[in-house]
């Protein structure tokens, strides 16, 4: 071997080892798991769209980190906590999944957050809403990214009270998320000087709401707060129209509405509803550009805030691995907390020590059919709710916060 060739080889070798030193991946790749509802009530607002959003983020990132591939896997948790935690355990322990995203349904989100804590692996909740994720169940490896019930309550609850809706009756889905949403909204309503006349808990999922709506009607409350989601909310709103509740002078407040719900309801039925969202596709040039690309891959369906949150959080996670030079969960979490998030989804978003990603939320009103320019042109953004106002202040309910202070 001549000297020149030897020199070339040595340089190449040092480059390879140099790259390996710059990036330490435990198994030679980054594997992202999207655990979501692929077949049930919530599969339109998260589901396949969330998987697609994660794939888009990986492709936009370049498909690899330092020469090592990034993979996306997905599974259907059927909105059941036991199924989700066994999939999460298998993914983390046997299949080298590094982080899990989406996790629609609060009971699922809470269960997987516990698995992540035990396995010391990152869990990013995008579509689950319960504030317990950053409260008493907070985890050093958990991020709550897109929205939570507190932000919904602050946004929609206080706006409705300000408009004169000062007495409330809740129709609540009977599980963690519904209870949480009802409680936080009750607090907000009372703080704003309103009154809560009662609540009824319905089984989840449920299709006939007439009975619950009649109880709400009989309560005489000015506002019927729907503390549920997905097709439950859609059916409740449809049937409220049918029973003349809106014509009778009571108004509805959908506390969690995704754009997919509005699309299904149609503007005739949904017009005028107030809602709080973490993302609307037609807000800025960047959000429009991303949403159009998403819609092309999803047969024309525009993204919900859950989909946008998955993309943004996967991107933030990959950037953190690159910057930290490792996929070690502690170091990646440190990096994710240290870097503000600036993209089409969030402006100066920050992940707090309790795992809450604080970003601006938007109070929107559903357009009338006359105002709408075409399909998916659904919202008028009435107000930007600054992140500090939208999200609950750091609370010592989360043990991580207590330690820090």
């Amino acid at each position: 071997m001549n000297f020149r060739a030897f020199l070339g080889m040595a340089t190449a070798l040092s480059l390879v080892t140099g790259a390996a030193q710059a990036l330490e991946l435990t198994d030679g790749k980054v594997k992202i798991g999207v655990l979501t509802d692929l077949s049930g009530t919530y599969s339109d607002l998260s589901g396949r769209g969330s998987v697609e959003a994660a794939r888009m983020a990986v492709e936009d990132f370049g498909g690899q980190i330092g020469g090592m591939p990034i993979e996306v896997v997905s599974a259907d948790h059927q909105n059941k906590a036991d199924i989700s935690s066994s999939i999460a355990r298998k993914w983390y322990d046997a299949e080298q999944v590094d982080a899990i995203f989406d996790l629609v349904t609060s009971s699922v989100g809470l269960a997987v957050q516990e698995v992540g804590r035990e396995s010391k692996k990152i869990v990013v909740n995008n579509a689950a809403g319960s504030t317990a994720l950053t409260g008493k169940n907070c985890s050093p490896y958990g991020v709550h990214y897109t929205y939570d019930t507190y932000a919904l309550a602050v946004g929609t609850g206080s706006a409705v009270v300000q408009q004169g809706g000062d007495s409330w009756f809740f129709v609540t889905a009977d599980y963690a998320f519904g209870h949480d949403l009802e409680n936080t909204t009750s607090t907000v309503v009372k703080q704003a000087g309103g009154e809560v006349k009662g609540a009824v808990r319905h089984p989840f999922p449920n299709s006939d709401f007439s009975s619950f709506l009649l109880q709400a009607q009989a309560s005489g409350a000015k506002v019927i707060g729907l503390a549920n989601a997905g097709s439950d909310t859609i059916n409740a709103i449809k049937q409220a129209r049918e029973f003349g509740i809106v014509q009778g002078g009571q108004s509805l407040a959908g506390l969690l509405l995704f754009i997919s719900d509005i699309h299904s309801l149609g503007l005739d039925t949904a017009q005028g509803l107030l809602l709080t969202t973490g993302f609307y596709w037609d807000r800025t040039d960047e959000s429009r550009e991303w949403a159009q690309r998403f819609a092309q891959r999803m047969g024309g369906t525009m993204p919900t805030m859950a989909h946008a949150g998955v993309y943004s959080s996967v991107m933030h996670y990959l950037k953190a691995i690159e910057a930290a030079g490792t996929d070690n969960s502690d170091k990646v979490m440190e990096q994710m907390r240290a870097t503000p998030i600036n993209d089409f989804f969030a402006e100066n978003g920050v992940i707090r020590e309790d795992g809450r990603m604080v970003h601006d939320m938007y109070l929107a009103q559903v357009k009338t059919p006359e105002e709408s320019q075409g399909p998916w042109d659904y919202y008028n953004i009435l107000r930007t709710i600054p992140g500090e106002e939208a999200y609950r202040p750091l609370s010592e309910e989360c043990p991580l916060v207590k330690k820090a202070s």
């Binding site: 607002l45 299709s207 009975s211 009649l214 109880q215 997905g230 859609i234 049918e242 009778g248």
Partner: protein, 295 residues
């Protein structure tokens, strides 16, 4: 104002009426199931999916061919019936000699496939289907506001249930059917084509499911999962009424609708389980069901 059991009477009356409306759906669906079980000895687990198909056919007829609610009320059940006849000829007819379990597994598999196909094509949020213009609005009954459409649901389902009952109990065709249920070989010996009768019965049974689906379309969103939420309850209704008993299925359907409605007032959290509690009690006391004949 006087109160009954701690609730104002108008709340109770309203809930009774609503229970009756939900009971109407249970009645039509359990009627079809009881009919099919009576003659075919098949536990038709695809019934919920066929109910969903009825709603989807109504939606597709409207949005592709521009055919409105009233014609769809006839056409969509016919279409569901035709698919039922194809299913019976292709698959079910091969299972009659085997245990009940095989028919149950086959129809359960079919239900999953049908739901999966519609979910893939249309998503789960549901599609809008407007009420027919003639039935919009409602009546103020003093104790509640009754949407005209819901009143129509009760009228239509009572008429269909009564018609089916008359057909089976009072006509010659019905007599053949009942005879074939008891002893198919003997009936065949009299020159009656029992296999065709079985095929048509299955078609009619699932057409009833399709009819319920069209009735449901304007109330609930047209949704691939609408049947799977309902089918388990309807099975419980059939078991309580007595497998194979036509009148039992209808009366139990309405009765349980009312009980469920009242549960939604007194203890709403239990409204999804109350029917199963009743089922357990009935099975303990009268294992053949309220209207069933012990074999």
């Amino acid at each position: 104002m006087a109160e009954l059991l701690g609730f104002p009477p108008q709340v109770l009356f309203g809930q009774l009426l609503l229970g009756l409306i939900n009971g109407a759906f249970y009645a039509i669906l359990s009627l079809g199931l009881a009919l099919i079980f009576g003659l075919l000895n098949i536990i038709n687990f695809a019934h919920g999916a066929q109910y969903m198909m009825g709603a989807f056919f109504a939606y597709l007829l409207l949005n592709i061919l521009g055919i409105g609610y009233w014609p769809a009320l006839i056409l969509a059940p016919l279409l569901v019936g035709v698919t039922g006849i194809i299913i019976e000829r292709l698959f079910l007819s091969r299972l009659y000699k085997l245990d009940h379990l095989y028919g149950l597994l086959l129809t359960f598999g079919l239900a999953l496939i049908l739901e999966g196909v519609f979910r893939h094509l249309y998503g789960v949020s549901g599609l809008p289907y407007a009420q027919p213009a003639a039935l919009q609005g409602g009546q103020n009954l003093g104790f509640m506001y009754l949407p005209n459409y819901r009143a129509w649901v009760v009228v239509a389902s009572v008429a269909v249930c009564l018609g089916t009952w008359l057909l089976i109990e009072k006509t010659k065709l019905g007599a053949y059917l009942r005879a074939a249920t008891e002893n198919p070989t003997l009936v065949q010996a009299f020159g009656i084509n029992v296999p065709v009768m079985i095929t048509l019965t299955y078609g009619f049974g699932v057409a009833l499911a399709g009819f319920a689906g069209v009735l449901a379309a304007p109330i609930y969103s047209v949704n691939p999962l609408m049947g799977s939420n309902l089918i388990i309850i309807v099975f419980a209704v059939v078991v309580i009424g007595g497998m194979g008993s036509i009148m039992g299925a209808v009366l139990t359907g309405f009765g349980l609708g009312i009980i469920e409605g009242l549960t939604k007032v007194f203890y709403p959290e239990a409204s999804s389980t109350v029917i199963f509690v009743i089922m357990a009690i009935v099975l303990l006391i009268k294992p053949a069901g309220l209207f069933g004949k012990a074999h």
